[in-house]
């Protein structure tokens, strides 16, 4: 858009991505962790769309579209997994789900 440098969008995208990473690394609730992933995806989408706008192409938007589709599929399956985990282990603490070690 006129007057808004591309870099601003990319900065915002980077900041949101960083927030997502922080959530992923530092949060203990598995659902919140999952939401942090969505936050990262959103941040990346913003980059895609900003580049698409900058280059005057529609391709970046298509990528963002596919990211959304994949995110929807991922959310459906991921949440089903979380529900199953919760049924079996009665916890959402990510650090307690550590039976896949050693």
């Amino acid at each position: 858009m006129d007057g808004v440098p591309l870099t601003w969008f990319l900065m915002l995208s980077a900041v949101l991505f960083g927030l997502g990473v922080a959530g992923f690394v530092f949060r203990r609730n598995i659902i919140t962790v999952f939401m942090s992933i969505e936050l990262m995806l959103n941040a990346v989408n913003l980059s895609f769309i900003a580049f698409a706008c900058r280059l005057g192409q529609v391709d970046g938007q298509i990528f963002a579209f596919f990211v959304m589709v994949v995110a929807a599929a991922e959310a459906a399956v991921g949440l089903a997994i979380i529900l199953t985990v919760f049924r079996n282990r009665a916890t959402l603490q990510i650090d307690e789900l550590d039976s896949l070690k050693n």
Partner: protein
């Protein structure tokens, strides 16, 4: 575009349908698919030939690049010329008749669908072999027919002898194929292409001093493959054992089509061989020796299928003799007539076996009355193979012997003696089976029409097949100008003498044969035991090979070195894993941190490499 690809495709479709769904399908369905696809192939062959007649120049069809590496392009290309047209007619026509015959012969066997699926698979590979426009595709067909041959020899896989015979055929063929593939590689290295037309034009353009060594090596290596596939000395030992397979298989694969693939291949490479005279001399030697020795063994065998198997080896020896004598057309001519009468001999033998449930000639006899159709058709075939005038075998054998005489007179005389022996052992089998009193048990009976009709068709073809002179068709300008009547008379007389001798030994004076055998003593035992070739091979090749494999390769190489190395690597990996396992904390957040580290690394690597600009 004549859509040549359809010809091999039909049997392949039949193989897939029967192989995948045949188990649950009815016999009628399996029959319809198996016969129908071969019939379609046959009809399409006829249509194609009619469209392309008179086929004076080869017809090439390119479909797609199979292998494309640098300049090398090996395509899935099919070609049709007169040589492959003859082969096509033999394969699809005789194949069709044998398929029909098999309905009756295999009617009560288990694995019915499996049998026909394999037969169709064989047809696919054989047609690929015949139609291939380059050496590699030919090799595909070559190996494929070997595979189907192995599968069909071991069809009665519950019989130990059948699986052993299958293995033997496969392994012996492998030796030949090794040479063959080396030959193909040498062609590729020297000419940079595998396409027949290009290779042969480059061969023809090669100066003689360059070509002699290379071409002779190539031709000899190809010949190794041919001897393996076509059961010639020294690799013929698998064919008699291959009679363990069902009789239609023996007729189709081990008499009419597959075993003649070597002849076809040498004829196909005739240009190459003509530029390697030494190799061609080898072909002639191998041919004449095989023809003679196999015929002598055939004299003494009592298993009807073994008799015909040695006869096949001997007859293919004739074909090789023709090829070696530079009479390629004559060789293919004999291939053509041989396909009819030898398929008929096997099918007739199958009918006899079907009638008495027995393969041993000593327990047959007098079947003339019980199985008249079988008798008369077999008689046609026997007449043809014995070279009785104006049957198909007469014309083709005549061509060969003439060429042999032109090439080297002593080979002609060996050929004549072999012809006499051929007539003798074939009629010996006929007389033992059909004359005299029935010596076996049970009630012999004629086969059903579905079996006798193909016999009749092949009988007619055996009698009249020679009037279509394949040799002239393939080589319009005959290499031999003169036609020596005296030589023809001699060979015919030899054949008739063989028949007469057989008649004396087994019809007029039964018992004389045993007396003669006793007189000959050692010689008879030597021939009866097939010159102990199997035993010699066992002692000289198999034993050392197996022993060496066990002690050196298995215990020494495999267990000590390879296993040691593999296990050592495994142990190291486990040791390393014990350390790296500490990373596997089970905490997702730790993993996330590692991912973060990786992402950072990737980012830095990218910006260091100049990305982001």
């Amino acid at each position: 575009m004549q859509h040549l690809w359809l010809i091999p495709l039909f049997p392949l479709a039949g193989f897939l349908v029967n192989g995948l769904m045949g188990r649950r399908a009815s016999k009628a369905f399996v029959n319809a698919v198996a016969i129908g696809t071969v019939l379609l192939s046959f009809l399409w062959t006829l249509k194609t030939l009619a469209a392309l007649a008179p086929l004076e120049t080869p017809h090439l069809e390119r479909y797609f690049a199979w292998i494309q590496v640098g300049d090398l392009r090996i395509g899935y290309d099919l070609a049709l010329d007169r040589l492959s047209a003859v082969m096509l007619l033999v394969v699809t026509g005789v194949g069709l008749l044998i398929h029909i015959y098999a309905i009756g012969y295999m009617g009560h066997e288990g694995g019915y669908y499996r049998f026909f699926a394999y037969m169709n698979l064989f047809m696919f590979f054989m047609l690929t072999l015949v139609l291939a426009a380059n050496f590699l595709l030919l090799f595909v067909g070559w190996e494929g027919v070997g595979l189907s041959s192995y599968l069909l020899i071991g069809f009665y896989f519950l019989r130990h002898s059948a699986t052993t015979a299958g293995n033997k055929a496969f392994i012996v063929n492998r030796i030949g194929d090794f040479g063959f593939s080396l030959g193909i590689l040498l062609i590729l290295v020297n000419f940079g292409t595998l396409e027949f037309a290009e290779v042969f034009s480059k061969v023809a353009a090669m100066p003689i001093e360059v070509s002699a060594g290379v071409l002779t090596t190539i031709a000899l290596l190809l010949l190794v493959g041919a001897t393996g596939k076509s059961a010639q000395i020294p690799l013929y030992v698998w064919l008699p054992d291959a009679m363990e397979g069902p009789t239609p298989v023996s007729a189709l694969i081990h008499a009419a089509t597959m075993v003649t693939a070597g002849v076809y291949m040498v004829a196909r490479s005739s240009v190459l061989y003509l530029h390697a005279p030494l190799a061609l001399d080898c072909v002639a030697w191998i041919g004449v020796l095989t023809a003679f020795f196999a015929a002598t063994i055939g004299l003494t065998q009592y298993d009807i299928k073994k008799v015909f198997a040695y006869s096949t080896i001997s007859q293919i020896g004739y074909m090789f003799l023709a090829l070696g004598a530079r009479a390629f057309g004559a060789g293919i001519f004999h291939l053509w007539s041989h396909a009819f009468f030898k398929a008929l001999l096997f099918l007739g033998a199958g009918s006899v076996i079907h009638a008495v449930g027995q393969q041993d000639l000593r327990y047959m006899g007098g079947l003339r009355r019980h199985a008249p159709v079988t008798f008369w058709t077999l008689l046609c075939a026997a007449a043809a193979i014995a070279g009785v005038p104006f049957t198909s075998g007469f014309f083709s054998k005549d061509e060969i012997l003439l060429a042999a005489h032109h090439y080297s007179p002593w080979m002609y005389w060996v050929g004549v003696v072999t012809a006499a022996m051929t007539a003798f052992y074939v009629f010996r089998a006929i007389f033992l089976a059909f004359f005299g009193e029935f010596r076996g048990e049970g009630h012999p009976h004629e086969s059903p029409p579905v079996m006798t009709l193909p016999l009749i068709a092949l009988g007619v073809l055996s009698l009249v097949g020679g009037f279509f002179n394949v040799a002239r068709w393939l080589e319009p300008e005959p290499t031999l100008a003169h036609h020596d009547t005296a030589l023809v008379v001699v060979s015919v007389a030899a054949g008739l003498a063989g028949i007469a001798l057989a008649g004396v030994f087994y019809v007029l004076r039964p018992g004389l044969a045993d007396v003669v055998a006793e007189r000959l003593g050692f010689l008879y035992r030597l021939v009866y035991n097939k010159y102990f070739v199997d035993e010699v091979y066992q002692a000289l090749v198999v034993k050392p090979l197996v022993g060496g494999s066990r002690d050196v390769l298995w215990q020494g190489m495999d267990v000590e070195v390879i296993d040691g190395a593999v296990n050592g690597v495994g142990l190291r990996a486990r040791g390393l894993g014990r350390v790296l396992r500490l990373l596997q904390s089970g905490y997702i957040r730790s993993y996330a941190t590692w991912v973060l580290l990786g992402a950072l690394g990737a980012l830095l690597a990218m910006s260091w490499a100049g990305g982001g600009r």
